[in-house]
Amino acid sequence: MIIRILTEGQYRLKNEALSELDKLDDELLEAIANNDEEGFNRRFCEVLTLIRDRGTKVEDTELVESDLVLPAPDTTLEEARELFAAYPRKLGDF
């Protein structure tokens, strides 16, 4: 699976790392649902660390669409909640 961390680049992730990501994903959802800022920051940081550590960086010379696009590392809980309304807020026509 190819995952893009917005503003950072793309990674390839395989098998058991994906299962772990799935588990973190549930916890992240819970943190957002509970409006738990500290929990969201911690979980999101864990998600990014997992992708960076267990994934392989896609070469800059490779052009490939991502299966998953994650928000930028400095995304706040408030921004994450907004993602359900519209994303990105002011991207406009690129």
Binding site: L6, L63, E65, P88
Partner: protein
């Protein structure tokens, strides 16, 4: 994948809307190229902005340090004249500037990180576009017209995603730089007037009180130090 895939879907929906606006892949390709050139220019402009903001903050650091030195000199002079009240007032002002100085140094670090990020983004975008050009030539040579359209479309989607990502990186850097500018402006005024600006105070009353207590204790320490120095002279 629950939340992560929902976030991705929202992002991609926006991307597809833009791609669908073009009638054929070649058009998408041209559109992407145009955007890429604009984006590279934008990244450069943003880099220059970040560097300029950083320089401005560095200048403010120099000015704040000069002002702090001047206030300490005034406090010492006041003590020599037996005016502890004036010395305390000068040292209190110095503490306000010291707190601003700490904030400024953190902001400079933040801008340095933005600068590095943007430089990385620019390098990545250049490499992707170059890859796209190469791929396009291979596709033209190896596939029939209909197949080539599909292949170009795939590559264009990959490139468009990259362009959207770069746009977002630029937008976030702009927002951060803007915040720094506003803060720098406020500090300029503060330094010019030499008084504490309420706008820079913490909104949290507890934190504000803790800062005041800590500043008061630093003022007492400095006063004691200066008294010793004056007695020695």
């Amino acid at each position: 994948m629950g939340i992560l895939s929902r976030m991705s879907t929202i992002f991609k929906a926006k991307l597809n809307k833009i791609l669908d606006a073009a009638e054929d892949p070649h058009e998408t390709l041209e559109y992407s190229y145009q955007r890429q050139l604009e984006l590279l220019q934008k990244v450069k402009r943003n880099l220059a902005d970040v560097v300029a903001s950083k320089k401005r903050l560095e200048l403010q650091v120099v000015r704040l340090k000069e002002n702090m030195g001047r206030l300490e000199g005034q406090a010492k002079e006041a003590l020599q004249l037996g005016r502890e009240d004036l010395a305390t007032a000068a040292l209190e002002r110095k503490q306000v500037l010291a707190a601003q100085l700490e904030g400024l140094e953190e902001q400079i670090k933040g801008l340095e990180q933005e600068q590095e990020k943007l430089a990385t983004v620019e390098a990545r975008l250049r490499a992707k576009v170059e890859a796209f050009r190469t791929k396009k030539e291979v596709i033209k040579a190896q596939y029939s017209a209909a197949q080539a359209q599909v292949k170009i479309s795939e590559a264009a989607t990959g490139l468009s995603e990259e362009l959207a990502d770069v746009s977002l990186a630029i937008q976030r850097a702009e927002e951060k730089t803007e915040k720094m500018r506003a803060r720098a402006q406020a500090i300029d005024e503060l330094v010019a007037r030499g008084v504490l600006d309420d706008a820079l105070e913490s909104a949290d009353p507890l934190e504000a009180e803790l800062r005041r207590v800590s500043a008061a204790s630093k003022v007492r320490e400095e006063l004691a130090r200066l008294k010793k120095e004056v007695r020695k002279e």
